[in-house]
Symmetry: D2
Amino acid sequence: MSKNTRPLSAVLLVHCADRKGLVALITDFLYKNQGNILYLDQHVDAERGVFFMRIEWEMSGFALPRNSVKAVFKSEIADRLDLDFSIHFTDERPGIAIFVSKLPHCLYDLLSSSRSGHWPAEVRLVISNHETLRPVAESFNIPFHHIPVTKESKAEAEKKQLKLLKELDIELIVLARYMQIVSQGFISNYVNKIINIHHSFLPAFPGARPYHSAFERGVKIIGATSHYVTAELDAGPIIEQDIVRVTHRDSVSELVRKGRELEKTVLTRALWNHINRKVLVYDNRTIVFE
Amino acid sequence: MSKNTRPLSAVLLVHCADRKGLVALITDFLYKNQGNILYLDQHVDAERGVFFMRIEWEMSGFALPRNSVKAVFKSEIADRLDLDFSIHFTDERPGIAIFVSKLPHCLYDLLSSSRSGHWPAEVRLVISNHETLRPVAESFNIPFHHIPVTKESKAEAEKKQLKLLKELDIELIVLARYMQIVSQGFISNYVNKIINIHHSFLPAFPGARPYHSAFERGVKIIGATSHYVTAELDAGPIIEQDIVRVTHRDSVSELVRKGRELEKTVLTRALWNHINRKVLVYDNRTIVFE
Amino acid sequence: MSKNTRPLSAVLLVHCADRKGLVALITDFLYKNQGNILYLDQHVDAERGVFFMRIEWEMSGFALPRNSVKAVFKSEIADRLDLDFSIHFTDERPGIAIFVSKLPHCLYDLLSSSRSGHWPAEVRLVISNHETLRPVAESFNIPFHHIPVTKESKAEAEKKQLKLLKELDIELIVLARYMQIVSQGFISNYVNKIINIHHSFLPAFPGARPYHSAFERGVKIIGATSHYVTAELDAGPIIEQDIVRVTHRDSVSELVRKGRELEKTVLTRALWNHINRKVLVYDNRTIVFE
Amino acid sequence: MSKNTRPLSAVLLVHCADRKGLVALITDFLYKNQGNILYLDQHVDAERGVFFMRIEWEMSGFALPRNSVKAVFKSEIADRLDLDFSIHFTDERPGIAIFVSKLPHCLYDLLSSSRSGHWPAEVRLVISNHETLRPVAESFNIPFHHIPVTKESKAEAEKKQLKLLKELDIELIVLARYMQIVSQGFISNYVNKIINIHHSFLPAFPGARPYHSAFERGVKIIGATSHYVTAELDAGPIIEQDIVRVTHRDSVSELVRKGRELEKTVLTRALWNHINRKVLVYDNRTIVFE
């Protein structure tokens, strides 16, 4: 089950205006080049007239060398059909940065999963507005950067963060219970590349203290939601949600405890789908090819 | 498993200001009268300082005759301790009225469950603002009353409804996808005795067309919520909720289809708990002693 | 949302030995004939080397007339590629027979869902070894046939059943808590066309009285399983499963009550997937293209 | 929410032959001693005639000093009524040992939860038959003991283990994917005090390689089960179970990945209930007073 033993494959993600023949034309391209398709997932948003596809094929035996696949696909197919596309290879290990504040549960879960789960990605740094979780990051040998954030220093802090992210070639940011609102300017550098975990079943209970609100409302189920961060708070495209039952016996602190287990699970699942190139975003909604 | 073969028992529901000795004093009353406790559930809302209890005990061998239990408990215990209480017997079959509009799924489910499920309750009539579901009610031999409701006729219609409810000694009203808002005046006759099914995971998506809103928001889970009806729309005490997973593949009509299965389940569970005297309401929240 | 307003489409189900180019060759066939693909789902069982696909495309604008689609696809594609395939049209209403004994909950749920759910199928008869549920079937205007089954009469009874099924052109049989074991000879007439609901989370608790066994074992979750019937009891390909939580408070009769809600949901979901041509069977497992 | 700020309370667990007056007599004892009941849970196993109760009350204001509560309760109540009972205080921090082999996911989750979750318990050592997870334990400053186990050395190894457990006053053992069968002799030292996590929905798929078996059977849901260890393999009293949906797309390694998330959650929940003294065991089943 080691990552290294999985044969190399390529993943193509596509979206474009829907029309006849898209699947035929794209799969024909692979067929002509001796590509063996492992997975093909396709979706048409009939209302908006948009076509989405994910294809994964084996590189072993494929006629095009790895470093020319993109260019050839672009000139032969994508330009002709006006496709929006990306191509990834399954041995890539894109860089991840995790942002945290003081709560350790998601950080521990991400770091331990990233180690044992054969992730096609690499956690390269942890950034926090507090020193609290430095020992956790360091016990996993992950560099930890403490960048305090106040109202006044926020712009400066984000500049420092972006510099670090660039230096380490970070592709994806995970907000693992990072208790700060990220500015629109910062987000524009990582569109659909910042994943947050919100501790409620969105759109119920956005904003602060959702467990308190859930308790007050007397719900019988609490949830957690992982979504891409957009300018509007807690309103970005949802990648994954899950729930757990609660009862009148559960105090707020019990909701917090039960919810934390859920936050870990939901964030890890969302991240897994993202790093395996299974998520497409369109019009503030996700297509998740599980 | 026939209802008739279950031995008769009594159910006491209590709430009052919390203080020491409540359980001891109440259970001692039962003990002195030879009561064999079958179930005892108790809850303290520490924040509000309120005590809740449900006790069920066998009437066989109980020293007090059925028709004097309430009076004796009141004078010996409840008045002394300033308890808010009710006592029910498990052979009672309180009358239920089901309000519907045009959608049959919840009505079918309630009527078939009420028949096969050994319910300690009796559906005595179906009221609708449309003729559509008359054949369904009549196939179960339940009287069906068509009472049209328009903006102008609403007050008059509710008067007619209340008259029917009184004539048939109805204790509980179930709004089984009844597409009308019930007036505050009407509700005041049935406080915590009108159960609604709302087709979303409240407080997300209150009001009309929640499946459309869920689709627009791109949620990965949809829900249904059964609650007591209060003056504020979709904001009453929640009795039961449940959810089902959806994906980007699900169109609005698929959400509707999946949701209907859920609505049936959630409404039936809520109703079951109510008619088995397992629900207490306090401060817009429910205590459900499952 | 009425069935009639959905535009006509065709569904192709395929399985065959996996090799390169299958998707390209098949989708190219549709493209050349002006077919607009609505859904395409594909799966490769890598271990067994088997390819599975479901494609749904619009018939409006398709170059081949409906009555020649199968023949042309067969000669141009299927024979050449040695495909195992079937083609269905979404306005077909294949005939269903429901087999029951005495328990009404699944029968009610199927009949009411089949009415309100815009099913692409038609319940044409109910067969039972008891008279008990005749009124239920007849309240839905579905013919009911009482065919008693004893050890001695079983062969004769199955002969009568098969005669009825043939007369009414039944394609699919649903065992809705039919408390009889169907003979291998009978099954051979309806391979992967008999759907059963088993009241446990298979493979746990096969056979009779699973709720009693679940209670004895002290499980915290009970389940229901819908599967195709094969010669080996409760061991056929699983189509759908779901579960509900239980506690130490739940007596066997509470498990039965909770389980019945589940049986209805699980059976209806399995059936929905089957009649929408979303299920393929291979090597005692199902591919469900949801 | 810090553990230290919760006021001290006492927990009484009782089981005995059911009879009239038990609740009254026991709660009266607390009332007479000025005990303020926080939680009372009671259950009667009607079939077996056994009574179970858990009461938690505040020690602040209680008339009996902490060190005499047990003795007084024993002489005044338990001996008279022939109760099987235990009394715990919420500031106790019983010692836990975690047994592991090579898989780190449960160990990480337990150690990080034990730190952030305000557990009323203390992980005092990790024992393993391999060196693999030493760095994990040591990064949490938990002593790690490598005790290899072979068929020949097993008796000797268990002796070493027991010696360590005794030295550190271990009350509870957690088998966190410990790939060894524990001998009956070992178990007899820790009856209902060894918690295992099994990676299937028991009683389905006991023994080795349950994910492979689940894949072979083609189930649509996989599960995890936490139970007390008894002499019969995977047949002990179940404390907690949960499930996750899978599809035909999930390979065995995907089942393993999804299942590991579940194993963590289920084991942590079971452990939480045990260390909060919410679990009673009787006749190979658990009563869990959640």
